[in-house]
């Protein structure tokens, strides 16, 4: 019992001075009866009625689990899938999902509670001690293992036969190459697609929901419209993907012409309507939170903020570049069109982007 006070740990070689031990004399005088591990008898150890009660409790928990499994099975067929019920705190929810989940949950949970209750009340709760074996094998075992390894390698001759060794290493180094090479067709080589969008001269601007052309008078001052090039659906159909949507999306905002402090090109607005790329120059989230009064546009992902009255310059957040502006005008019928494509790549940075 004195062993437990022994700290084999201390660094100081001067054990006399370091390893604290309680002398027998003091230890026997200690007031509480605690000697080593305290072990208290449980009621279930001393009272057979209590033990019987615990046994019944455990069995009841396991029995209730079986009951809930049956509830699950019955409700799987009995409750119609579309039935909804209102439950306080949860709201209106699918009745079947709720009953299935609750019954299944309790069927599982009660097994766990039963098992632990059993362990705590009825199984022996005497702590036992086991010695640890040293993890490092004895020196002679190590030596024998190394010797076996040496004999094995010597018998193979891999040490002496350099030609075999080197050619094997070469072959092993080369054979995974086909796997690596085959990864090449994971994707096409970039051909500057990140620089291009569908926008070009005279392309109509359409809304991104109804795909209707837009007249300037459709946009009141202070309004924000999400828009696309008119051919977006054709491109989508042809390419069978949403890539172009992620690049060509723009925002139209109308402000009073005198509010425009600067633009990316001379008169790129049309009567105070400015068009900017909707794709954030940080990591490419679509931007949608517009503050009418300040003309600030906030990206909901990382809060980069751009000033649409001032060339779309970033004024806050992690984005370092302005939003590219699209020069717009109207056609002879009075619909908004692009005067030219974007003059710089839209969206987030990439290595080859340059200035």
């Amino acid at each position: 019992m004195t062993e437990k006070f022994d700290i084999n740990n201390t660094f100081d070689p001067d054990k006399e001075n370091q390893a604290p031990k309680i002398s027998k004399e003091v230890a026997t005088k200690l007031p509480t009866a605690a000697k080593g591990v305290d072990h208290y008898l449980r009621r279930t150890d001393t009272d057979s009625k209590a033990a019987r009660r615990a046994e019944l409790q455990v069995a009841a928990l396991f029995g209730a689990s079986s009951f809930f499994t049956l509830v699950f099975l019955v409700s799987f067929v009995a409750i119609p899938r579309e039935k909804k019920i209102a439950v306080s705190l949860i709201g209106v929810t699918g009745a079947q999902n709720l009953v299935l989940g609750v019954s299944f949950g309790f069927a599982i949970l009660l097994i766990g509670i039963g098992a632990i209750h059993w362990a705590k009340k009825l199984m022996s709760d005497v702590e036992i001690v086991q010695e640890r074996k040293e993890i490092k094998p004895a020196d002679d075992v190590q030596q024998e293992a190394l010797a076996a390894f040496r004999v094995g390698t010597e018998e193979s001759g891999i040490g002496q036969r350099k030609l075999i060794r080197r050619s094997l290493l070469g072959a092993l180094a080369l054979f995974p190459l086909p796997f690596v090479v085959m990864l090449r067709d994971l994707g096409p080589a970039p051909k500057g697609e990140l620089r291009k969008t569908a926008w070009e001269e005279d392309l109509h601007i359409v809304t991104d929901i109804t795909y209707q052309k837009i007249r300037p008078e459709d946009i009141p001052v202070g309004n924000l419209v999400s828009a696309m090039p008119e051919n977006i659906m054709e491109i989508q159909e042809e390419e069978q993907n949403l890539n172009e949507r992620g690049k060509s999306a723009i925002l139209l905002v109308r402000m009073r012409p005198e509010e425009i402090k600067s633009q990316q090109g001379p008169d790129w607005d049309y009567q105070g309507i400015v068009a900017y790329s909707k794709i954030c120059t940080h990591v490419g989230c679509p931007i949608a939170l517009y503050e009418q009064r300040t003309h600030h546009l906030l990206c909901p992902c990382h809060q980069s903020t751009f000033d649409l009255s001032d060339s779309g310059q970033p004024i806050f957040g992690p984005a370092a570049r302005r939003l590219p502006q699209l020069a717009i005008t109207v056609d002879e019928e009075g619909y908004l069109i692009a005067r030219q494509g974007f003059q710089e790549p839209v969206g987030p940075s990439f290595w080859e982007r340059g200035a």
Binding site: M1, K4, N8, N9, F11, D12, N17, P20, I22, V26, K29, L30, P31, T32, K35, D38, E82, I90, N97, L100, F104, A107, I111, G112, A115, I116, A119, M123, E127, I128, V129, Q130, I135, L183, L186, G187, P188, N241, N243, R245, G246, V283, G284, C285, L289, P300, H302, Q303, S304, G317, P318, A320, P348, S349, F350, W351, E352, R353, G354, A355
Partner: protein, 559 residues
Amino acid sequence: MSNTTTSKKTPAAYNYVDSRVGFSAALKRNLRKVFPDHWSFMLGEIALYSFIILLLTGTFLTLWYKPSMTEVIYNGSYIPLKGIPMSEAYSSTLEISFDVRGGMLLRQIHHWAALFFIAAMVVHLLRVFFTGAYRKPREFNWLLGIALLTLGLLAGFSGYSLPDDLLSGIGLKIAAGIIQAIPVIGTWALYFLFGGEFPGTEIIPRLYSIHILLIPGAILALVTAHLLLVWTQKHTQYPGPGRTEKNVVGYPLLPVYTAKAGGFFFIVFGVTTLLGALVAINPIWLYGPFTPDQVTAGSQPDWYIGFLEGSLRVMPAIEFNIFNTWTFSPNILIPALILPGLMFVLMGAYPFIESWITGDKREHNLLDRPRNAPTRTALGTMSLTFYILLWIGGGNDIIATTFSLSINSITYFMRVALIALPPLVFIATKRICLGLQRKDLEMLLHGKETGRILRLPDGGFVEVHEPVSEAELPKLLARETYPVWELPQKVDANGIKTPHYHRQMFKARMSAWWTKGDLPIPTAKEIQAGQHHAYEALEQASEFGVKPGKEEIVSATNH
């Protein structure tokens, strides 16, 4: 024990299997293997059980989920989305949610279990860190744990993206933006991962194969290794009566540990199932199908990606153009790649750094109390503070709208706090640890305060101290100190230059920093004297009629 078993007849079935497999020796060794008991040892269990739940529910989900980005028109039973074009992935997820009986439950259990899986791993990691359980011989297991956490994060993110709803699509878009910002290879990496530009049509099937095959396979392999090492090295234990570096005190595998650990699996599973039944999570039908030109305000990733989200948000806008030809984006690379990379490398290297500084190469099976390793504990709370601040930064929009604060102010505050707060927390933690050590020392040298005041015949007041009980003693005695490395001399007495002088100097400085403020370990004599004194004081008190725990103030002259 072997005598009693051999005298009984071997069951035929047992004999049948054993004579083909030969497992009796292993069973004999292991069935009564001892496991120490402590609530904090359940954290790793929660992670393991969550992983099993994930495998179970995940397998069911694969039976209905279609990993395809082909556009279909939704025609299932969720009315608000009827007739809307969407990917097959999203529509099959809706089908699981609304047309497969119990499908919603499976999805929600799966998602809850994923959140618990990573949360349990993180808290388990903290437990292992703060108790020094990673020390020799368990460094490899620490590394395996770090790898498992990394894989867990990847599993979470790849699974989060599979429903192809608007929210998860935004997460993918951010990932794409980060990948394409990588210098030199970024665009190629993006094209290889997505099969071209974002979003393309390849990413969902590829993430699916990563999510259901590669990552779970790797996790399974590493978990097996992790558990095998725990098994062969035997579990660590907290200092306590009868517990030494060379033994394990606890309950045998059969029956107590089996019942408790097995039962605990059902409890974790049961709780997760009830949560899946009662608490909606990731209601993808409300977000709508993904399209790269739309976004919802207040988008938040799952909690474990929050720290990355925060680091992206808090980072100032720094970007360079190199020769007007290449774009270099520290505003993305630092928060999204360099910072998490550094965090994981530092975590992995930590056990080796610590043992280099302390010079401690001994085997440790008794856990440290956090107060007894003040520098380590302070480093831990410091790092945790940094992580939590990042995490809060990731919710700056939610905080701003909830508490009507300026999002700009929160972000500026975070930028300062991330640099200023962790060192303050370091200092505070170290002081607290040393204070607690003083309290322990006080108990050893003067006994335990009882809160009972005794008025002496001469009118003075003393507080009665009582000796520390034997059950508490090992805990108090478990502290140890490390010697400080001597400052090396550049040239020794014989005029010979010290080899690796600068490295040794650095090590000496680190060692001095590590042990700064350490209290001396009391000698056995001092402790004996202290305890004896406390015992005598208690006896004296009882002579005066002080009954333990009865009176607040006793006047000794009354008797």
